[in-house]
Symmetry: C2
Subunit: 342 residues, 2 copies
């Protein structure tokens, strides 16, 4: 069943639980490292043929979806906030945004002009995958993008972004409005270019208190997701550390709520209610564990999801670089076999 992933997102019955992995194209694959030996991460993103090639690499593991190879930070450059990846490090903003002037200078750009290469890669992939494997588009959510913009890179404490939020609520609102409009246009354009499912990555929103999420973030995410719902394409809404934010994330929107490993899938789904699908939620470190342990935890997740359609198997976050590729294939096969037995 080529479309079991899309069907599960819509909570329709499937022959087996679909499975894909966040960051399934990446350094754990020899084929990817071979390409990265010649090209930088951003160079691959900006060359549609290369991005499409890398996107297709993990299909060898039998996953049920392909996710466009790209980086969540790509929209920041055409907004006027360039960044680079230092060797072995995370992203580094060349001029972090810290005040009203910095926010004022950010541009809401035309997607075809600023990120046409992403749309081109999606068009290539859609032709390549038609009727074989569904294609996922994605974007970072406003808070998560803002965390890089303001902190200047990956953060441990999110102190600067929270200070901006608490100290300058009007500047914050302008920033979030701009980011939300950029993300809304970007995801819409991805759907127009052929993405059959889209995932919104609010990866770092778990740093917030529920009351702060509600006041400072939720309205902006809702603007994006309300609009996307009119496209008819399933939307996955994902974050990490969101154990106490799940209901609010659901209120913001999405057909599928992405769960990280810090929650029990069955408890989270019961809290959300069964009119939403769920995706997750194996700890990425388990992909490197001995097979008996890995098998045990895969079984636990499948058992917690059993009894109704609407579960997409995934990790709780991206694949780690030192993951043995054989284990990726192993989990794909176990998920398919065990869910068919159920």
């Amino acid at each position: 069943m080529w479309d079991r992933f899309i069907r599960a997102c819509r909570r329709e019955p499937v022959d087996a639980t679909p499975v894909w992995f966040m960051r399934q194209a990446g350094r754990y694959m020899q084929e990817y490292r071979a390409i990265r030996a010649k090209w930088g991460l951003l160079e691959i993103c900006k060359a549609p043929e290369l991005a499409a090639q890398v996107t297709l690499q993990p299909l060898v593991h039998g996953v049920d979806a392909a996710i466009l190879f790209a980086d969540i930070l790509l929209p920041l450059e055409p907004m006027g906030a360039p960044f680079e990846f230092a060797a072995g490090e995370g992203p580094c903003m060349l001029s972090p945004v810290s005040d009203a002037r910095g926010v004022e200078a950010l541009r809401v750009f035309d997607v075809e002009e600023g990120l046409g290469f992403v749309l081109a890669a999606l068009r290539i992939l859609r032709r390549e995958l038609e009727g074989k494997t569904p294609l996922i588009g994605f974007a970072g959510a406003p808070f998560t993008l803002a965390s890089y913009l303001v902190e200047g890179g990956r953060s441990s404490g999110y102190t600067r972004i929270k200070r901006l939020m608490y100290d300058e609520p009007k500047v914050w609102c302008v920033l979030m409005n701009k980011l939300a409009e950029v993300v809304r246009r970007y995801l819409r354009a991805q759907v127009d270019a052929g993405a059959q499912v889209v995932q919104l990555f609010d990866s770092w929103v778990g740093a917030l208190a529920p009351v702060d999420y509600q006041e400072f973030v939720l309205p902006h995410v809702r603007t994006i997701l309300r609009d996307l719902e009119t496209t008819g394409v399933p939307v996955i809404h994902f974050g990490t550390g969101t154990g106490a934010l799940l209901e609010l994330q659901q209120e913001a929107g999405g057909h599928v709520i992405g769960l990280d490993w810090r929650v029990r899938l069955d408890e989270a789904w019961a809290r959300l209610g069964y009119d939403v699908a769920v995706q997750g939620n194996l700890d990425p470190v388990l992909l490197g564990a001995p097979r008996p342990m890995l098998d045990k935890r895969v079984r636990t997740i499948l058992a917690q999801a059993a009894g109704r359609p609407g579960h997409v198997f995934n990790l709780g976050h991206g694949i780690l670089p030192d993951t043995p590729p054989g284990n990726v294939r192993y989990v794909v096969d176990r998920v398919h076999e065990l869910s068919q037995e159920q």
Copy 2:
């Protein structure tokens, strides 16, 4: 009411909600920086008179408890795993533990011999504070201590410690047994030396899936807390990122569950049930926010805790170094005033 903090821990009625702050003695205070200009962090910990002096500094803000100035890593050195604090950095283990041999070499030591200076500081403080301010002792919990031992310092992904847990469950068990016995003896000795309440800091346990916490951590924490309960002293059980672990932490023990800001206090307390007290849970970044914002969030927390005894006001984690000391005093006063009005 000098003992409103102890009374709240026991869920007894109080005249006002007690308040103290994790890391209330620290770099945000000019008086502390003056001492740190002359002495290193570990030097202060190891000099009972100095440690006692620093412990007393934040009482100027009107807090309802004094917490011994010490570091959660102190027990690692007498276990045979020394560490140091690089300037401006977190702790750095000189030889991280990575295998059975490293675990085998760790010693379960005699507390008076290995950490007599901590007990001496407690004895000084107890004399100083008698009948005026309750004294809190504390220790890091086995998982959190192990995370430093194995990762070599502060971690972002907890990959190494999880690998050890998944790959070598027997070695893991030996490691946790040793740490649990060290922590149990250490906290017991602190109670004997005069600590009137103790807090167990399992600060980083929120990195784990509930099923992993249950299998690999909970039994060891329970061993410690069951034993401590026989001392008659209230025990606070604290972690961060534990939104989905609270019930399991409660199962492991403690009279008070420490909440971080990522959960709503009212929802968390309802989940735990009202036969346990709660502590928390202001985002530490808010202590640097403008007064109207800070006041709003303090009110929200007090309103969520209203209606029954058993709430200790605190942050969701430690005070940040750039916190204005005036805001600490402000929050103490607001908590006292507002809770008296309620």
